[in-house]
Amino acid sequence: MPSIRQTAYPDVLPDFRNLAVMARVLVGVNALALAGALYATPSLPAGLERFVYAAAFLEPLLLVELMVLFAATGVLARLPYWAGCAAVVALVSMLAALYHLGVRTVAADAVPSLGRTLALTLVAAGVLLAYFYLHTKAFSPALAEARLQALQARIRPHFLFNSLNAVLALIRRDPKRAERSLEDLADLFRTLMADARQFVRLADEIALLERYADIEQLRLGERLRITWELDASPSDALLPPMVLQPLLENAVYHGVEPGTGTGDVLVRIERRGDRVHASIENPHLEAGGQRAGNRMALDNIRERLALFFDAEARLETHIANGRYRVHIEIPYRRA
């Protein structure tokens, strides 16, 4: 059984379909080549010339390797981490050797020796894999923290005890609805204790949002009015778990509960091209104090989005016309 305090997350290979990952690979390999060229030559101009010469050889190989990794990333991700690393190294070495032999047949004097090509390939692959490994390690505390924070938020006594109290009030008058509310609560807690490393389907995350909304609706009645705009939402999109629900919870906690009137909350999720956009809007209340606690939740979600999508995800907040709005944008990945 996964424990709540579990902090050790297994290592994963970088997602080679991610643009930011590709960019890091390109920059990394070229930086290594430049360093090598400068080291091997006596002066800066000579070094640069050597680098340009080497790059002419290197760049096509690098692009081919990235394309192959792009295509293979699905298979690679299913291997255990160390096997995956070995497969990546084997794959790029093989490509380098083939490329080397291919180029030599057309321009024999234009290529370095096979040994040097392979050595650079191995060094570059090793350095980059180590870099991605550390990069993931640096972000993974955010996952453990997310569960803890989400757990604390859900067990935010305010929510838990008020929900239980509302269900108690229902038991005699509407036992069926009371049963459903307890099931909703159970589902919320189950998700919370689940594994925060795995992607979830958007459809499941939306179902969770609706369960949560039902419980709040029970408590707040006509004071809470949620408008769902989900027609264009891609139900098969993948996203990290517990990204949307905490945002809806914040909207209710800061934007509806402190108000005396009806609080309008808008949930809109849609796909535009290869991006998925999600935004949640609530009234911006002076008494709502949408500050410290909210910012902590947002920072954590931002970190987790970075961990899952690198630079391809965005999270922004706006305050305009008395409305507070959180907007998330992630790449469209299918299950």
Binding site: H158, F161, N162, N165, A166, A169, R172, R219, E257, T260
Partner: protein, 256 residues
């Protein structure tokens, strides 16, 4: 028959309390004399209800339970108060410290019965205990007016001035008299927690910092010169005592 008033912003929570009151009716006969969904509504309805005990939720929109309780002191025959909370750590500590009664949600029938028996003869909680228990300054000052309570938003107040027995509360439109001590008001509204902070300009006067438009120098000649506060939208000038002047000037200078 205890007359009970229920103030809670969540409908199911009020329903639950009504159910429980029925359940314990044999032990503690009671009737629900009124209900409200927030502090302001409760203050409007309480005086006419003749309630003896108020079951009061703490977290409510508009005005929270603790502030509401503090305004009750202005009522004749103010009800005894039993706070009801889901779990407000700071409030509970403060209640314990100041011997105020509270119940935890979800409320148990036996606990409710015990609390009602205890509260029935107790009368309103002491103003000082409530003031100490409250974490934040009030958003309103309250004025007793025959059979109702008039609320004056603190953000509308320009100055508070101690007269002989009362404190004058001056807003742009009118003035009210309240029976509170200026020292206690200063403690509440001049501190760092105040959302609409005041500053003492004279032994007998606190001025809202946001309402200060500027200062005028008067006197000269035989009379010793002194400064006066010019207030937003008010012809009256308020003298700043020599002793307070340096502090006032500094505070207003670093106003955002």
């Amino acid at each position: 028959m205890i007359r009970i008033f229920i103030a809670d912003d969540e409908t199911p929570a009020r329903e639950r309390l009504r159910e429980l009151l029925q359940d314990i009716a044999a032990e503690v006969p009671s009737t629900v004399a009124g209900e409200a969904r927030n502090g302001i509504e409760a203050l409007e309805r309480l005086p006419a209800s003749g309630a003896q005990v108020l079951l009061l939720d703490i977290r409510m929109p508009g005005m929270d339970g603790l502030e509401l309780a503090r305004h009750l002191a202005n009522l004749e025959n103010a009800p005894a108060v039993v706070f009801v909370t889901a779990h407000d750590k700071h409030a509970i500590e403060a209640f314990e410290l100041n011997a105020l009664d509270y119940l935890l949600k979800p409320v148990r029938a036996a606990r409710l019965a015990a609390a009602l028996k205890k509260a029935a003869g107790a009368g309103a909680p002491r103003r000082e205990s409530l003031a100490r228990a409250a974490a934040a300054p009030r958003e309103y000052l309250s004025v007793a007016e025959r059979h109702r309570i008039v609320l004056v938003p603190v953000r509308d107040i320009l100055f508070l001035r101690a007269e002989q027995k009362y404190v004058t509360v001056r807003t742009r439109e009118r003035e009210h008299l309240i029976e509170e001590s200026l020292v206690a008001l200063e403690r509440e509204f001049c501190g760092p927690q105040a959302t609409h902070p005041f500053v003492r300009i004279h032994r007998n006067c606190l001025v809202a910092r946001a309402g200060i438009r500027g200062f005028e120098r008067t006197g000269g000649g035989d009379e010793e010169a002194h400064w006066q506060v010019v207030l937003d939208g008010l012809a009256e000038r308020l003298p700043v005592s020599r002793r307070q002047w340096p502090a006032v000037r500094e505070l207003v200078a670093d106003r955002p």
